[in-house]
Amino acid sequence: MALTQQEFAFVSGLVRREAAIVLETGKEYLVEARLLPLARRTGTPSVSEFVARAQRERALADQIVDALTTNETSWLRDREPFSAFTDSVLPDLAERRTPVQKLRIWSAACSSGQEPYGLAMLLEESLKSSRQYEILATDISAEMLERAKTGRYSQLEVNRGLPVPMLVKYFQRAGTEWQVSESLRRNITFQKVNLAAPLPPVQPFDVVFLRNVLIYFDLETKRSVLRRIRSLMRPDGWLFLGAAETTIGIDDGFERVVAGRASAYRPRAATTAPVGATRKG
């Protein structure tokens, strides 16, 4: 059954508001092709009825946005922040923490999971085997978290910026897909978190990755998100933002430092005695 004009208008309005993506008339078939699996999964008999339900149920509307906006994301293609993490940040933390202290890392917008699993691989490769770590991976989308939790990736996804030695070491084939190994999954906890709302109480973090998220918020929200994140960081912790993002002019509580070839941000008090990092800006 084809989508009516009204149903298509609802869907295109939704993705325009939520993701700034324009779906022109004529793309009805695309909407149908992408939403059919969702309708089936939720036991809704047709795409039309799924769209009708989504007008009443927020969670289903979120699924529509995800289904129509998701692209494969890359694993470790942005070399600078990841080499800063392994070459500057981890040696710094190894010096500052006692050998038995667990390192705590937060992947604050983990999407389909490439970032937390990628960080886990880097930690496995870089840390002494006696050093324990834990990663909290959060996202606003329950659908994304479910996907990330399964640790299953398509062939197209494992082609994207994942060094092949990591593929053979940390993945197994599972039918047409690849499955992340248990050795990585056991150190990662997935949790739904809305960064724009008060955060749940947790132990402070040594490193926070919050890349390509702030760009979607207005200035006030950026400021409150950064303030809340700072309150969950160790005083000598590290924050990584996307290349086009900064705390400068938004939250004075952070200071930008150079780490390798990347910029990182640290709570201001920590930078009075920098170790393994120099000031900038």
């Binding site: 695309l30 092709a33 692209n71 398509s154 062939q155 197209l156 084939r173 039918g175 047409t176």
Partner: protein, 153 residues
């Protein structure tokens, strides 16, 4: 070892389309009851060794042309029969290679074979169909099927 299923074919086909024929994800291959009728273009690779059978794609003449121009980055009217043979041959090679990864170790893939069939017979004697995905792309029918020889299936 379980046999490849229509779901497997669907997953593989979606990836091939996103990679080579529909990079924007706006013209996906849409499964339906529609199948190509003659005249059609057939592209096939055979699997030998631990598993024996064929991976076959069939295209309406128009679909083979559209697929070739999209893959090679040409205009529809520029596409020659050699281009079609190269392009759909490579498509079935990639799909066949991905099907092979689901089959037992020690299975080997042949070089692709491409043929135009105007009328008459198109059969895979001594083989049975394992799974099939058919539908349309840009309103032209395309089918993908996997066959195994009766003795090893």
């Amino acid at each position: 070892m379980t046999s490849p299923t229509t779901d497997d074919l669907q997953a593989i086909t979606e990836q091939v389309w996103l990679s080579y024929l529909d990079p924007e994800g706006t013209n996906p291959f849409l499964p339906s009851e529609q199948a190509p009728t003659m005249p059609c273009v057939i592209a096939a690779v055979s699997v030998t060794g631990a598993w024996e059978g064929h991976v076959v794609m069939s295209f309406s003449t128009e679909a083979s042309k559209k697929a070739s121009s999209a893959l090679l980055g040409m205009e529809d009217e520029e596409v020659t029969t050699d281009d079609i043979a190269d392009a759909v041959g490579e498509l079935v090679n990639v799909i066949g290679g991905n099907v092979k990864s689901l089959l037992p170790d020690g299975s080997l893939l042949s070089l692709p074979h491409v043929a135009t069939i105007d009328e008459g017979v198109n059969k895979w004697p001594a083989a049975v169909e394992v799974c099939r995905l058919q539908g349309s792309w840009q309103n032209e029918p395309i089918a993908i099927s996997v066959w195994t020889s009766k003795s090893t299936g």
